[in-house]
């Protein structure tokens, strides 16, 4: 499979990349790791006239802590995220999820920016991103802005990303220090994509009462979502299997299940609940 022809420009800075986008009259697309874009170009589903390569822009890489949030450069690879000491210490669920994306080769090339910002319904990282109240740092024609991951994706490959702008980083909230987290995933047999991926971050206070709960779910439908109904059913309750079970039954309240040849809507609904329960049990019990 071979993509259609395009012009290629390598941007040296974010500013230049934005200018290149502006000049292209909507013909250009950003390429970074290429693991979201190139496959659909090879299928000729998309045929951009120009690619602006941002993969060499140094400012887009790396992890740091700023204002009590972890900032991960958009060009940081899944491998780097999974092995980064700051990530592992402060937001381990992101590392855990990143380490389960695709396979070794894909993790070495795919980037956090692409995984979260491309609007791919079967991306893993939106789940932990939602559970970590993540924001996308976006640089565009009018400067910088931050947009919540929650609500950013409208449909498959359709996002709120403004025209001629670039996701430069993703910023994550650091959960309270007593919180525990996990990412559990049901692998699609062929692709390894999540048929369901559940990220759960929860905290239990000294009295055994759940005082913090964030649950992000991906893979099951066209848009990943934050399972607020689950969170609400947990917070304020004493930890018990019954509480977890009851909360997990609400796993689909905030999302819409999809359906394809591999898994029907009904089955995805079941998987969402089962995997939510399993994730919660592993962090709460």
């Amino acid at each position: 499979m071979i993509p259609t022809q395009f012009d290629y420009v390598r941007a040296d800075s974010v500013k230049q990349a934005i200018e290149l986008l502006q000049d292209s009259n909507g013909e250009a697309k950003i390429i970074a790791g290429g693991h979201s874009l190139l496959p659909i170009m090879k299928f000729r589903i998309t045929e951009p006239g120009k690619l602006v390569d941002i993969s060499r822009i140094a400012e887009l890489k790396g992890v740091k802590i700023e204002d009590d949030r972890v900032i991960v450069g958009a060009m940081t690879t899944h491998y780097e995220v999974a092995n980064d000491p700051i990530v592992k210490q402060n937001i381990p669920v992101l590392a855990e999820a990143a380490s389960q994306i695709g396979d070794i080769q894909i993790r070495n090339r795919g980037t956090i920016g692409g995984n979260i910002a491309h609007g791919d319904p079967v991306a893993d990282l939106p789940a932990p991103a939602l559970a970590l109240d993540a924001e996308l740092i976006i640089e565009g024609e009018d400067g910088m802005e931050a947009m919540s991951v929650d609500g950013f994706t409208l449909g498959p490959l359709i996002t709120l990303l403004p025209e001629n702008s670039i996701v430069t980083a993703v910023s994550f909230e650091i959960p309270p220090s007593h919180a525990k987290s996990t990412y559990l995933k049901f692998f699609h047999h062929a692709t390894g994509y999540p048929v369901v991926g559940v990220a759960a971050v929860t905290g239990v206070n000294e009295d055994g009462v759940i005082d913090y709960a964030r649950v992000g779910i991906t893979g099951v439908g066209e848009v990943s979502y934050r399972a607020r109904a689950v969170e609400e059913a947990l917070v304020g309750q004493k930890v018990s299997e019954e509480v977890i079970q009851a909360a997990s039954e609400l796993a689909t309240t905030d999302g819409e299940m999809g359906s394809d040849l591999f898994a029907s809507e009904q089955y995805r609904e079941n998987l969402s609940k089962v995997y939510t329960a399993r994730a919660l049990k592993s962090v709460l019990l």
């Binding site: 071979i2 047999h189 062929a190 040849l261 898994a263």
Partner: protein, 782 residues
């Protein structure tokens, strides 16, 4: 002398492949080479109203575009090579490109030749085809119905052939104490070698010779068929197979694409290369299986089976492929009774045309399907009468003393001792304890299942007279030449066509033992119709049993000749010469000897040969075995099903196989592992899917789930050895046993696990959702 036969020897082939020095089809670059791309029908059934290539011809790099009409009368039709007799077989003509009607998604519409692989791909998008979609027939039973859309207008009810073997009367079923009726669907799968198909043509306009590199498991069959299709003398057509990345049956077939490439290379007088893309492979390379099998198994309450009546409705796709018609008839239908002595058996097979990709042999070819129905049916029968699945098998096995055993349909099994691998397997896995553990876990509410399959299969095709009687358009003997150079180094030529099996190593083991020369002094030559006079290729697990037989006989003949020369030089009679470790020794006279090297030189120089001996040290053998071979064994599988998700955890897999003489345990185990992975793949993950309109829904590895490493436990293997009397090595085939045995073993295990929910059967592949759904249903009814 068996120093190497039976030894665990690492492969001679590997250093080349491990260092990137493999020479695969797409590695070949020829001066002035053009590329080919094929435009394929996006419709399952449509009239081709017009094809407009004007725009396409303006694209950069285009050299030529051919349509079906352009080639009419210039390339012949692609024939099937298995015309099963007494079956009213109606072969619809398949032309290399569809002329006025496309009959499946993937049917060739136009051939583009141009400068470079990127250029020809771009041109495909510029060809404008006007289609008028027609109603489609997709599933075989639907296609046979009155008023079903016809794939070929002149073939009534889409029935390509109707074949029957054996006799079972109604009363044999109706009057039996117990009758098990079941319908099994052995679904359509894609062979999926990791290297897709390819063809490269190179024509010499001066000599009129055409050299065609093909992805082929049987280059001589390709030569024979394509010489007719392209109207070129077999003596001027050379078919060569480069190193090939797997076949699994998918590269047996002679395809339109190869004929197109050969034609274009000759027409344009420039080399042409075509490499199939993966999504193209899914639509344009033959699929396997797709058989709906209705079974009636009759017997007594105490488990003695008395009659088996089977009807197989096989989906042939839009055209009859090279081996296609034989798969669901001869391969499937003559040993439906499996390892069991069932006195009456009959099989009726309908081959049905549909608007889908043609089906052909896929690893096992008919035997996995046949084994599936009997191994599933006997397990269901046991359940029905409350008998242990092992006990019912023992009770009905063809007995060791009965060999050569003639089954109810008249097929003669060469050798067998079915208790032997069964007993070994039960001991290795500690069956009694396993059942106790299962019971205990069931009490905890866990879904553990144990599945068994005690299979036997037919392979090692031969003799040729039988091939003729069953309508195979060719012979099934094998050919080998052993050539010793003046240096004493050896080239061996065979007509089998390895593509991963490691014949270079196993056959060298045979020759090394015979001649007493070291393994590294022997080099094999395969896969070139110029180098090897004739041969019938590699499929149906025939290479060691038939090809190895030819090698063995040729080597024996060479030793005979060499001994005569040695005796002459040493002035003794030939009976006085012993050959050991490469030394021709006069018996009882130390020092009176000639080395193999010395005789090689004498024979080739021919300065002093006995009167009746011709120069050179080279012998040839053509081996046509007296019967097929019938490997057998027992596979046991343990699974646990996740109640909440339906996911199946394959926990143990044990295979005890009896394949006669094992030449190389290392490569044999490799064959067993690979075969099992493909069978388990069919049971659990793989499946080609078509929509109701005949759209292919599984067109890449993103939809078609291939077996992956993490899906498997460590496979436990062992062999028992019951030699075959029909070839000099006593060997049987091993390439397909794993696939044949594993599909029903896995299904039996899963059904056993789901027994608490009253499940008796499910459709493959057993995706988690399907399993979850039956658990939900079971929960409701319980």
């Amino acid at each position: 002398m068996t120093k190497n036969i039976g030894a665990r020897i690492k492969r001679k082939e590997d250093p080349k492949l491990l260092t990137g020095n493999g020479y695969f089809a797409d590695d070949i670059q020829l001066p002035g080479m053009l590329y080919a791309a094929i435009l394929r029908s996006p419709h399952a059934h449509a009239i081709i109203k017009s094809i407009n290539i004007e725009k396409a011809l303006e694209a950069p790099g285009v050299v030529k575009i051919y349509t079906g009409k352009d080639l009419e009368g210039k390339i012949g039709r692609i024939p099937s090579s298995w015309l099963v007799p007494d079956s009213n077989l109606k072969e619809a003509p398949q032309y290399p490109l569809a002329i006025d009607r496309a009959r499946y998604v993937g049917d060739g519409i136009a051939l583009v030749i141009g400068e470079g692989r990127y250029a020809v791909r771009d041109v495909l998008d510029l060809i404008e085809v006007e289609y008028e979609p027609l109603p489609v027939s997709v599933k075989q039973k639907d296609a046979m119905a009155e008023n079903a859309p016809l794939v070929h207008d002149d073939i009534e009810n889409n029935i390509a052939f109707h074949w029957k073997a054996g006799e079972v009367e109604d009363k044999d079923i109706d009057e039996a104490e117990v009758v098990l009726r079941a319908s099994f669907n052995v679904q359509r799968v894609a062979p999926s070698p990791i290297e897709t198909r390819s063809a490269i043509g190179e024509y010499n306009p001066g000599s009129g010779e055409l050299k065609l590199w093909c992805s082929s498991q049987n280059p001589h069959i390709h030569r024979m068929v394509l010489s007719e299709v392209l109207n070129i003398s077999e003596s001027k057509l050379q078919v060569v197979v480069a190193d090939m990345g797997g076949g699994f049956g998918g590269k047996i077939g002679v395809y339109p694409d190869e004929a197109l490439v050969g034609y274009a290379a000759r027409d344009l007088k420039r080399p042409v290369k075509w490499i199939e893309e993966r999504n193209e492979h899914f639509s344009a390379s033959n699929h396997g299986r797709d058989e709906v099998i209705d079974v009636e198994l009759a017997g007594t309450k105490d488990g003695k089976l008395t009659a088996l009546r089977v009807v197989n409705t096989a989906n042939m796709g839009a055209y009859l492929s090279t081996m296609g018609p034989g798969v669901s008839t001869i391969d499937f239908g003559l040993m439906i009774t499996g390892a069991y002595d069932i006195p009456k058996a009959s099989c009726e097979t309908f081959g049905v045309y549909t608007n889908t990709t043609p089906t052909d042999a896929y690893r096992g070819a008919g035997k996995p399907e046949s084994t599936y129905q009997i191994e599933r049916a006997i397990s269901l029968f046991a359940k029905k009468i409350g008998m242990d699945p092992i006990e019912i098998r023992r009770k009905n096995f063809a007995k060791k003393e009965a060999f050569p055993y003639t089954n109810a349909q008249g097929l003669v099994y060469d050798s067998g001792d079915y208790e032997k691998p069964l007993n070994k397997a039960l001991e290795m896995i500690d069956y009694k304890k396993l059942r106790e553990e299962q019971e205990a876990k069931r009490k905890e509410g866990r879904l553990v299942g144990i599945g068994i399959s005690t299979y036997v299969e037919l392979c090692g095709f031969g003799p040729s007279a039988v091939a003729g009687a069953i309508g195979f358009q060719g012979g099934v003997w094998e050919n080998s030449t052993v050539r010793v150079h003046p240096s004493g180094k050896v080239n061996v030529y065979t007509g089998t066509s390895p593509h991963g099996q490691g014949h270079g190593t196993t056959f060298s083991q045979i020759v090394s033992d015979k001649l007493g020369v070291p393994m590294e002094d022997i080099d094999f030559v395969f896969n070139d119709t110029r180098a090897i006079s004739m041969g019938w290729g590699t499929y149906g697990s025939r290479s060691v049993a038939v090809g190895g037989g030819a090698v063995s006989i040729a080597a024996d003949r060479l030793v005979d000749k060499a001994k005569k020369i040695a005796a002459h030089e040493l002035e003794v009679s030939v009976e006085d010469i012993d050959l050991a470790d490469g030394i021709f020794q006069v018996k009882g006279v130390p020092g009176q000897q000639r080395t193999f090297k010395e005789i090689a030189k004498s024979a080739n120089f021919a300065w002093n040969l006995p009167e009746d001996i011709e120069p050179s040290l080279e012998t040839q053998a053509f081996f046509d075995p007296s019967n097929f071979v019938y490997p057998f064994g027992t596979h046991i599988v343990v699974v646990e099903v996740d109640k909440d998700t339906g996911e199946i955890d394959l926990q143990r897999y044990l295979a005890v196989d009896d394949v006669g003489r094992v030449i190389n345990p290392l490569t044999s185990e490799g064959q067993v592992h690979g075969g099992i992975a493909q069978g388990v793949g069919q049971a659990l993950w793989e499946g080609i899917r078509y929509s109701e309109t005949g759209q292919l829904q599984s067109g890449s590895f993103m939809d078609y789930a291939m077996p992956k490493a993490r899906f498997f436990p460590r496979i436990e293997t062992a062999f028992t050895e019951t030699l075959s009397p029909v070839n000099p090595l006593g060997a049987k085939g091993i390439g397909e046993t794993g696939t044949t045995a594993s599909i029903p073993a896995v299904m039996n295990a899963v059904v056993d696990a789901l027994e608490p929910y009253g499940v008796t059967d499910m459709e493959m592949p057993l995706t988690p959702e399907k399993v979850w759904q039956v658990i939900q249903k079971g929960r409701e009814t319980n």
